[in-house]
Symmetry: C2
Subunit: 327 residues, 2 copies
């Protein structure tokens, strides 16, 4: 099942069930008018939405044309957005570039940060940043949406709480990060609004590509039309989504609709490219002593997409342009 939230003038949009090829959709019925309402009551909602999805796929329903342009984020605002750094290779590389070592515990204890979730952008929303010299970067990731997760939920149980999967562009303002992290309280101004793929899909939509709570498929990133990443999200993911959820739930329960991110996808095989500019700059720093690739400029475009073995886009495409404020 694939779900999208379409613009309807309301803050939370309107939930729709989308077909596998992302061409047709039907509205979700009341009381599941928004994705959050469905997640709040997922045990009841899921079979109803699944049945609709099957009928839609069978051509048994009057449907309407689906357009990613009309999408908000699957959850245009959420109650929880926790992002990991599960591709530890990325963390090690960025640290090495600035002459820092990485504690060995980073291979066993997930690094996660608490994100802000009141403004989650749709797949075509611009990346609005008041100053280009903040060092605007993309971060192509995967994320899952959970139902209610109890406190101290172990990884073995966490898998069953993964209800939906989607793509994320976790925009980062690189030049704000060092002074902000130096203050000791983590990210805030350096992590503006993130953008999400047109649809969120149930794990079964991924077939055999969903294994061990990882998505074993390449993630494609295009920057100004040029492909810069084809890293496989199932490779080098040191902590799977179940482990990330368990980390988050150590001292708290999670409410239905919590979003848990993987962190920037990164393969140790450098031929797979980079899912964030910071990683490329780190490699340049190590090789040449200085970064050569600039961060995003106003007018730049970023596209993020993942396709199945037959080349069919699974989540639809995130496609954003960088803009100054007030444009």
């Amino acid at each position: 099942m694939k779900l999208a939230t379409l613009q309807n003038g309301q803050r939370d949009g309107r939930l729709a069930v989308v077909n596998r090829t992302l061409t047709q959709a039907v509205w979700a019925p009341a009381p599941y008018l928004t994705l959050q309402l469905a997640l709040d009551d997922w045990q009841q909602a899921s079979p109803i939405l699944t049945a609709l999805s099957q009928q839609l796929e069978a051509g048994a329903l009057a449907s309407f044309a689906f357009a990613s342009e009309a999408c908000l984020a699957p959850l245009p605002r959420a109650y929880q957005w926790a992002d990991g750094s599960a591709y530890v290779n990325h963390v090690e590389l960025v640290r090495r570039a600035r002459g820092a070592t990485m504690p060995d515990t980073f291979w066993t204890d997930p690094l996660m940060y608490q994100g802000g979730s009141d403004d989650l952008l749709g797949p075509r929303a611009p990346i609005v940043c008041p100053q280009v010299d903040y060092g605007i970067d993309f971060e192509a990731e995967l994320a899952v949406i959970t139902d209610d997760v109890p406190m101290t939920c172990p990884p073995a149980d966490a898998a069953s709480h993964i209800k939906l999967i989607m793509l994320v562009n976790d925009v980062s303002l690189r030049n704000l990060i060092p002074p902000e992290l130096a203050k000791g309280f983590g990210f805030f101004q350096s992590k503006p609004a993130s953008a999400f793929s047109p649809v969120a899909v149930t794990p079964d939509e991924l077939g055999e590509a969903w294994q061990d709570c990882k998505v074993h498929l390449p993630l494609y990133v295009h920057w100004n039309g040029q492909q810069v990443c084809q890293a496989n999200a199932g490779v080098d993911m040191v902590f799977n989504f179940a482990q990330l959820i368990a980390h988050v739930a150590k001292t708290r329960r999670l409410g239905a609709g919590s979003i848990i991110g993987s962190g920037t996808v990164s393969n140790t095989d450098r031929r797979q490219g980079y899912a964030c500019i910071a990683e490329q700059r780190a490699l340049e720093m190590i090789e040449y002593g200085a970064p050569r690739t600039p961060y995003l400029q106003y007018g730049d475009t970023v596209q993020i997409e993942m396709c199945d073995a037959r080349g069919q886009s699974i989540f639809g495409r995130i496609e954003q342009v960088v803009q100054p404020l007030g444009q």
Copy 2:
């Protein structure tokens, strides 16, 4: 106007308007069945709810008895919870106790962290913690709720976005903080669910005590029935709520219903006591070379309350007992 969210078996509860002495209440009318729904449409909702409040005060409405025990948090889940450390004295003291100095910029650049907001506790909810040796601490604070705030909103404009004020117990797990902050990404496991006062009030309810976007009244904390704090929240607050909002909005817009916290209230005048145990332990560390006051134990109670000049409780009382998981 005073607003409360009462338990009704739903995740977001049901919005009620409460009288000034916190004894009687009336239900908010549709479509304002929850506080978030009212905040989403505050310009329309506010005059309707204000009129109800005035009629309730005048005894012109059939009302029901109000009980803090029936309250959820004013927002039982929210889209944004950003907490500051506006009482810089507290930060300096805690750092001094561990032999660290504080950068001078902390007096001019607010220290804020991104909190998790999917599980905001009601005023009588227990503090549930799986292990007492995590070092459970209370933090008595004030917080405001905003409407929509535009990106780069300056402090002078931010004041007008403050719609409601409430009390918070920002529970912290002190022994998890050093290793977590050492990882560099800020708090996560060390900041479990926070609890909120029975009612949230509009700034006008504070009369002259609301000045310069600060609440100029003593905040009372009782630990196991003994008063440990009477610090005035208007004293030593280095950044007011407008400045905190502007800090948060530097690179993002804020959605309606965003909660912005002050951080632990702290007066340089030590006779006013402590709003968190960590501060008392820091003083003991400085004076005796070791802390003497233990953190919270299972069964301990914490009460947080603020009263007006006539002794009337403004927000109702937060009153929590510390419990292990599964009790």
